[in-house]
């Protein structure tokens, strides 16, 4: 029974991971840029939520729409004003470019907030629901609920809105999209904005579960990579599935083995999937 509790807690955390990875997957799927500053963008969002909590007394969940919007605008501007120029460059140049960006982001946060861990105090931090024999932390349920809602909104956007459909057209065939008169560069900017908005929302939700410090960013960038590779780089359901898998794997590894071994588990999983099915569990080549 205790295992079931661990698995469910892992699933709930995994949903938030999934939303974070969804952002990476959308960006890669459409723009074909690997965002090596993904975790850094999320940590930026987490600090945004911390600041709103300190100054305006906002709960991270109430800060979520604001932070998400801010991240969307920042992502849009970054792609429009800067990254659009580098979309056709070789992998290693893009890698170093985004890595330099990540370095500047982390250093800026370090300058602004110092190296110490920050957290928000929540009145309901230790509340929990009892469902049969299951014990669910309230924060985890809220975070997972928010993540699922975010993913659903994204799905609806890509399925029904004109812009969403246009972005999918870009992803399928960039030249074709240009031929029929779509403004590809603007759509790329919107896409990067959406990817950033995903990490914005995920950051606020994750703040319910963990403390934030500048140096955790790189770990989350790696985590996002593991998840999207597992699920299939560019596949949206794959990112969610990967998030859930990694959430459960981490929770179980932390419980059964040593906690410090939990990321070894994720990396081993990543190596196996890459070799056995490089397109990921739900991806297509």
């Amino acid at each position: 029974m205790i295992y079931l509790n661990v698995i469910v807690a892992g699933l709930l955390t995994g949903a938030v991971y999934g939303l974070m990875a969804l952002g990476l997957s959308v960006i890669f799927g459409v723009i074909r840029i690997v965002n090596f500053a993904h975790g850094e963008m999320m940590v930026l969002a987490m600090y945004g939520a911390v600041v709103l909590n300190r100054w305006a007394g906002l709960d991270p969940l109430a800060a979520l729409p604001l932070v998400t919007l801010a991240l969307f605008i920042a992502g849009y501007a970054l792609q429009r004003g800067f990254l659009n120029r580098y979309i056709a460059r070789p992998d290693h140049e893009q890698f170093l470019l985004l890595l330099a960006l990540a370095t500047v982001l982390t250093a800026s946060l370090l300058i602004a907030f110092g190296p110490d861990a920050r957290s928000v105090s929540l009145s309901y931090a230790y509340d929990s629901y009892e469902v049969g024999a299951l014990l669910l932390d309230k924060v985890r349920v809220l975070a997972a609920g928010g993540a699922v809602a975010g993913a659903a909104a994204l799905w609806a956007f890509f399925r029904f809105s004109r812009t969403g459909k246009a972005i999918r057209a870009c992803a399928d065939n960039q030249t074709g999209a240009q031929v029929v008169g779509l403004d590809v560069r603007r759509l790329y900017a919107v896409t990067f904005g959406i990817g950033a908005a995903c990490v914005g929302a995920a950051g606020c939700l994750l703040l319910l579960l963990i403390d934030v410090e500048p140096y955790i960013a790189a770990d989350y960038t790696l985590l996002a990579f593991i998840i999207v590779i597992l699920g299939g780089l560019g596949s949206m359901p794959g990112a969610l599935l990967g998030g859930l898998l990694v959430g459960v794997a981490e929770a179980l590894a932390g419980f059964v083995l040593e906690p410090s071994l939990k990321s070894a588990f994720s990396f081993a999983l990543l190596i196996l999937v890459l070799l056995a099915r490089p397109q990921g569990l739900l991806g297509r080549r």
């Binding site: 170093l96 370095t103 300058i111 500048p214 780089l233 071994l261 990396f267 990543l270 190596i271």
Partner: protein, 330 residues
């Protein structure tokens, strides 16, 4: 590429080499300057090794810390436990890293993992190994492996115990060796095959080049070379931790110098290493002068961003065309 256009480059190279050899004669050179130059030479050497697999053969490896760590730990542990001489341990480290590189490359390329996926796979292998070493008590796990330090009156080159100046000369020799090897390989059949694979893998395959074999060779060679540097690093630092030896940050450092200097060029790793070391020193001075946490990293990141954004092909190709020296490809 005429002889006359090559001449200024040759003259400058010889002058630089003479200055490097005569280093202790300069009045401003103290232990600090030597240690900074040692850092630069490590960056240049590792950069040259990485340049072979990514710059020449076009396979983006982001996990070269794995081979640094393997070289360092194999040589270090053999010395620590059984007193195996450093140079022998270095060979053992080189062999294990080359095998690891060949294995990773063979697995990836056999299963047709390429491009970004290959890059992420190399990170995964390096991180996985780092965590394994964190839980490997024979080499000290997370508490680290401390090599015994002996206070000798003079440098002992055979046992690699001595002053930073000795390490400076060893590294200088290794970097020159790496440069000569890179130059030699580029002019040979294998070098042309690598460049053909880098430019267009399908075309190379169509021409009958055994693409798989030459990519695996590039990785094995690059990994082995990297491990030699790693072993030297072990005896220079005298202490090893998995979280620094195998760190992803080290992989990033290794690839930064050649990319900044000019990926795939011979002098690129050297130029990049010098530029980065100077940049690092300047940002450290500025950062610690103002005593603000993170300012150093910020300046470094911003400068890096500028260089990559403005000179994506690297400093060396830019410098070369400005000065009108050398040929186009190297």
């Amino acid at each position: 590429m005429t002889a006359a256009r090559q001449r200024p480059l040759a003259v400058v190279s010889v002058l630089l080499l003479l200055a490097a050899l005569a280093l202790p004669l300069f009045p401003f050179v103290d232990n600090y300057v030597v240690s900074v130059l040692v850092v630069a030479l490590f960056a240049a050497y590792f950069g040259q090794a990485w340049n072979i697999v990514t710059g020449f053969a076009g396979q983006l490896s982001l996990g070269h810390a794995l081979y640094v760590g393997l070289g360092a730990y194999v040589a270090g542990a053999l010395f620590f436990h059984w007193g195996v001489p450093p140079w022998l341990g270095m060979l053992a480290g080189m062999a294990s890293a080359a095998s690891a590189g060949a294995l990773i490359a063979a697995l990836s390329f056999r299963f047709r993992v390429g491009g970004v996926y290959f890059a992420l796979l190399t990170i995964a292998f390096a991180e996985f190994t780092r965590i394994l070493f964190d839980h490997f008590p024979w080499v000290g796990a997370t508490s680290g492996l401390y090599l015994p330090v002996s206070n000798l009156a003079h440098d002992d080159l055979l046992r690699l115990r001595g002053s930073p100046l000795m390490f400076y000369y060893v590294l200088l020799a290794m970097t020159l060796g790496g440069l000569a090897l890179s130059r030699h390989l580029l002019g040979r059949r294998i070098g042309y095959y690598w460049q053909a694979i880098r430019e267009d893998e399908e075309a190379a395959q169509a021409l009958g080049i055994d693409v798989f074999r030459y990519k695996v060779w590039a990785m094995a060679l690059s990994a082995g070379m990297t491990a030699i540097g790693g072993a030297l690093l072990a005896f220079y630092d005298n202490v090893l931790f998995p979280d620094t030896a195998f760190a992803i940050g080290r992989s990033v450092e290794i690839i930064t110098a050649p990319i900044i200097g000019g990926l795939g060029t011979l002098a690129g790793p050297l130029v990049g290493a010098v530029a980065l070391t100077v940049l690092g020193e300047v940002t450290t001075r500025l950062g610690s002068g103002l005593a603000i946490d993170g300012l150093k990293q910020w300046l470094f990141g911003a400068a890096l961003l500028l260089v990559v954004a403005l000179q994506p092909a690297g400093l060396w190709p830019w410098l070369r065309s400005r000065l009108g020296i050398g040929n186009d490809r190297r």
